[in-house]
């Protein structure tokens, strides 16, 4: 329970951190969206009630609240709400049938789109459809479940702060796996406690802050930067040395972006990881290694000579 609290605290902190670094770029559709935000951007909203003929103030459903700061700092910040949502949402009360309206999927816009071709949407889409989430819950589980339509901002391929990326990505998984309310959107099961399920992993808090869930739970391919093929739990990585060794193949996915240039040299991690975290078994300092070998060698050599002389000159 305490660990859960700390993880939640981490999440909260990270949100503050992200909120603070809002870009100062001009906001494209702030005027058009301000109508929606007047209600969906604050805990209470006011509308004119024709029947009783006065203004009525009500509380906004917290799940329908959208943080405008995060909204204008995300991938789709240049979008009007009604680019994705029906035009009829402009009227209030919203028409009851609007909620049945199907939402576009990522591929509807991104398939064959040259501007975002480097993200390999098609590959990701295939990987996702092989994942546990999709195979077990094909229709309810959409890309939007992990990619919050109003706040998802790419980190993995452009944030040079690995720690931030890790926290960001893990919060995506924890948004369900540490929150029963969202989890049960998908599954009637009572949620297994992720903290308990990872009890075999020592220093859980620092592990979850320094490796991503997907490092252990996905099948990594070379085509997509962020692997989306989440496998069943029995295929998850459990062997410590898959990370804790200089030839760790796994961590290459996390550090792929940062490490590409520098890793070639010594075959293991570059300054990016050396600076930010220290992984037993994986971070070996080449120079310290050589130095220690030389010193040990000399000590043994001197001892050997000394012993020989002692025996010979007895």
């Amino acid at each position: 329970m305490k660990k859960l609290l700390i993880i939640n605290l981490l999440c909260a902190l990270s949100f503050i951190a992200f909120a603070q670094e809002t870009s100062k770029e001009e906001v494209v559709h702030s005027k058009e969206n301000s109508n929606c935000f007047s209600c969906h951007g604050s805990p209470t909203y006011t509308y004119y009630n024709d029947v009783v003929e006065r203004d009525i103030t009500k509380r906004m459903n917290p799940y329908f609240l959208i943080d405008s700061v995060l909204y204008y700092d995300q991938n789709h910040k240049s979008f009007e709400c009604i680019d994705c949502h029906a035009y009829e949402f402009k009227t209030f009360p919203h028409d009851n049938t609007l909620r049945m309206e199907p939402m576009p999927s990522c591929l509807d816009c991104h398939e064959g789109d040259d501007a975002t071709a480097m993200y390999n949407f098609e590959v990701i889409n295939d990987e996702f459809h092989e994942s546990v989430h999709s195979t077990k819950h094909s229709d309810e589980f959409t890309c939007w479940m992990c990619h919050n339509p109003h706040s998802y901002k790419i980190n993995a391929s452009n944030n040079s702060n690995i720690r931030e990326t890790i926290i960001y990505d893990n919060n995506i998984c924890l948004s369900c796996h540490a929150d029963i309310n969202k989890y049960q959107l998908i599954s009637g099961n009572t949620k297994p406690n992720v903290i308990d399920k990872h009890d075999w992993l020592p220093n859980q808090i620092s592990h979850f802050a320094s490796v991503r869930c997907i490092e252990c739970h996905t099948h990594v391919s070379d085509e997509a930067l962020v692997a989306h093929h989440i496998q069943t739990k029995d295929k998850a990585v459990k062997k410590c040395v898959e990370c804790h060794s200089s030839n760790a193949t796994l961590m290459t996915s996390l550090y792929r972006f940062q490490a590409q240039e520098n890793r070639r040299k010594y075959g293991f991690f570059n300054a990016a990881i050396l600076e930010d975290s220290y992984m037993i078994g994986a971070n070996r300092n080449l120079y310290l290694n050589i130095l220690s070998a030389i010193i040990f060698g000399s000590v043994f050599f001197v001892i050997l000579i000394h012993t020989l002389l002692r025996i010979l000159l007895k």
Partner: protein, 202 residues
């Protein structure tokens, strides 16, 4: 022939035994952790982690015991030294080990009651017990609570910094141990010092 002297009280011998065993376990598991690999493992990683942690804790307890015992028994006197003339005494002993010993000279500081250690032993024991042991123990305890460490120390990751201290002290202590064991073979006979450390009599 000098009369036998009782130089190593029981508590020193017991502490030393525990200390030496724990240090051996720590060095072996520590090396195994540092050089872990997928293809071959000396000791399975999580097993090595547990053994390293447990022996570290025992070593810590032993160290605190040693501090108190040395503070409140006469054994502590052997660890006090006067800076004045220290260098020349150490050099004299070093000279003996490098040359004199081969010419069958008498050791410059023979063991007697009130002088258990020669100057070189004394200075190395003091450095090891009062500088490097605290370093390695404190950094080890810090690594036990990695999530409480600051993100950055002097511009590099906090864990990384502490770990460097830990590894460097570990390296120095390992060197000490090798040299220490070797020097212990320089006695009346190669085994006599080890016998003293078992029965207490020199």
């Amino acid at each position: 022939m000098t009369k036998p002297m009782y130089l190593y009280p029981l508590w020193v011998r017991l502490w030393h035994l525990a200390n030496a065993l724990m240090c051996l376990a720590l060095i072996i598991t520590g090396l195994s952790l540092q050089y872990s690999s997928i293809e071959y493992t000396m000791i399975p990683f999580n097993y090595a982690i547990s053994v390293h942690n447990i022996s570290g804790i025992i070593l810590c307890v032993g160290y605190v015991f040693f501090l108190f015992a040395n503070r409140f028994t006469s054994n502590g006197h052997y660890y006090q030294f006067h800076l004045k003339g220290m260098l020349s005494r150490v050099l004299k002993q070093a000279r003996y080990y490098s040359f004199g010993i081969f010419k069958h000279e008498q050791p410059p500081f023979p063991v007697k009651v009130g002088r258990k250690f020669n100057p070189l032993q004394k200075i190395s024991y003091v450095f090891v017990m009062y500088i490097f042991m605290p370093f390695i123990l404190i950094s080890g305890i810090a690594l036990f609570f990695p999530d409480l460490l600051p993100d950055k120390i002097f511009g590099i990751g906090g864990i990384h910094f502490i770990d460097l201290i830990h590894i460097i002290s570990g390296f120095i202590l390992s060197i000490f141990m090798v040299v220490h064991i070797y020097f212990c073979t320089i006695g009346k006979t190669p085994l006599s010092n080890f016998k003293s450390m078992v029965n207490g009599w020199h």
